[in-house]
Amino acid sequence: MNYLKHIGKYFIMLKQVFKKPQKWSVFREMFFREIEDLGLKSLGIIAFISFFVGGVVAIQTALNVDSPFIPKYLIGFATKRSVILEFAPTFMSVILAGKVGSYISSSIGTMRVTEQIDALEVMGINSLNYLVLPKIMATLLFYPLLIILAMFLGIYGGYVAGLLTGKFFSEDYIYGVQLDFDPYFVKYALIKTLVFAFVIATIPAYHGYYVKGGSLEVGRASTQAVVWTSVVIILLNYFLTQMLLG
């Protein structure tokens, strides 16, 4: 029953979030600030992880297809598929749920316990709209770009791994990457990314906004936010895959 209460409260929160901003100039300012905080500041970690994950996927595939009957271009092909379909959209979203989710939850939670949200409400400002909408818009706009970057770097990571380890030839790898390329897979990955971006912005915001107590509770809310965001991403990933590819 408690879960249902939270789900209901979450949707009521969304109703308040999706209202016309009280002042567009302030919204624009907040939006660009969120692009920087939630997007640009995640570039480094996403680039780093996707490059090495791509490399590891390529090496693992190479080690597991060590048979003269299996063509070597399969390494590039498998790396491309894995990175585009799962590693970039899902794995990176779980990483972002940890990094960005805890930031959103703790920053909003701290505003709650230090009465900064009350101060907004007293002024007559719709605090949910003011605080959460720019975050949603920023993640929806920026995360697809981030995930496309992760796709490129993941595949490039596989290429570099081949060069450094000598386990496969770069020509084979490039051929495999180009082989049977289906643009729908990128579309599928981007649809997933948009859904996950929405989840990453809203679930931690919910946990932060309704926190009660002090700094300890803010910490707890932050942990819960990361856990629930990750769980929802994994579940939605299953359903979206079934719907879009099944």
Binding site: Q22, K23, S25, V26, T110, M111, T114, E115, Q116, D118, A119, E121, V122, M123, G124, I125
Partner: protein, 255 residues
């Protein structure tokens, strides 16, 4: 005038305010006092609209707060300034940006006009050379001043302060008290302060509402508080020897 009638508020079935009625007048500094847990903060939050009472009436110059639609309520809230106990300044904004925030949200003034207004109120609360500092870089007393400056920047009709001098040294607390009283007189605001500080009560409490266990146990002025025989408030206010002696001296003087 703010009129409160039979205000009742409960949390999870536990009554916190049990039918409070009182009025707060223009140009006067009114204070709500009482022990911890007596319902002072809940009362103040009901007045500013952060808590919705179960029953009762709150009337701001004839406007019934509980019966206003969203637009009217939003308009009313623009007329309210509030100083929070911890300041509630936005950490990521500088002092100047904190004070400018309500202007940015609700006016179409140019940046230079807004800046002029910010500097005016900063000057009014005697805070100079702090425009570009962040809240974490200034002292508690300065944060309170910034909070007051932000509360009055929109020229509010109603000013609410939740323990404005808690955590401050006696000197700074007196400065803050005097500042609030001066501003109240100058702008003819209705000021309601929630306080524990008996010095403040004696100094600036033109009207005092004493709450005990969610009920209004006494009301009067800071002069009347010396003469009252009401046991509840006498026990609360004169719990320290110093105040007992002050009261005796006052009563002897006025005999």
């Amino acid at each position: 005038m703010i009129e409160v009638k039979d205000l009742y508020k409960e949390f999870n079935g536990v009554p916190v305010l049990k039918g409070i009625s009182t009025t707060f007048e223009k140009g006067k500094t009114s204070m709500i006092i009482g022990q911890s847990g007596s319902g002072k903060t809940v009362f103040l939050k009901c007045l500013v609209g952060l808590h919705v009472p179960e029953s009762g009436l709150i009337c701001f110059d004839g406007r019934k707060h509980t019966e206003l639609d969203i637009k009217q309520r939003r308009q009313l809230r623009k007329e309210i300034g509030m100083v929070f106990q911890g300041g509630a300044l936005y950490d990521s904004l500088t002092v100047e940006e904190n004070i400018m925030f309500p202007l940015k949200m609700f006016t179409r003034d140019s940046y230079s006009d807004m800046l002029k207004r910010v500097n005016f109120v900063l000057d009014r609360v005697n805070l100079v050379n702090a425009n570009k500092k962040f809240p974490a870089e200034i002292s508690g007393g300065m944060q309170k001043r910034v909070s007051i400056a932000r509360a009055i920047v929109m020229n509010p009709k109603y000013l609410f302060c939740d323990e404005p001098n808690s955590g401050l040294d006696p000197n700074t607390a007196t400065v803050i008290d005097n500042l609030i009283q001066e501003i109240t007189k100058e702008y003819q605001m209705i000021t309601v302060i929630n306080s524990h500080d008996m010095n403040s009560v004696m100094e600036i409490g033109e009207k005092i509402v004493f709450l005990k266990d969610g009920v209004k146990a006494w009301e009067g002025s800071n002069k009347e508080i010396f003469k009252t025989e009401n046991e509840a408030i006498v026990n609360f206010v004169y719990s320290s020897n110093l105040f007992k002696k002050v009261r005796e001296a006052y009563l002897n003087e006025t005999k």
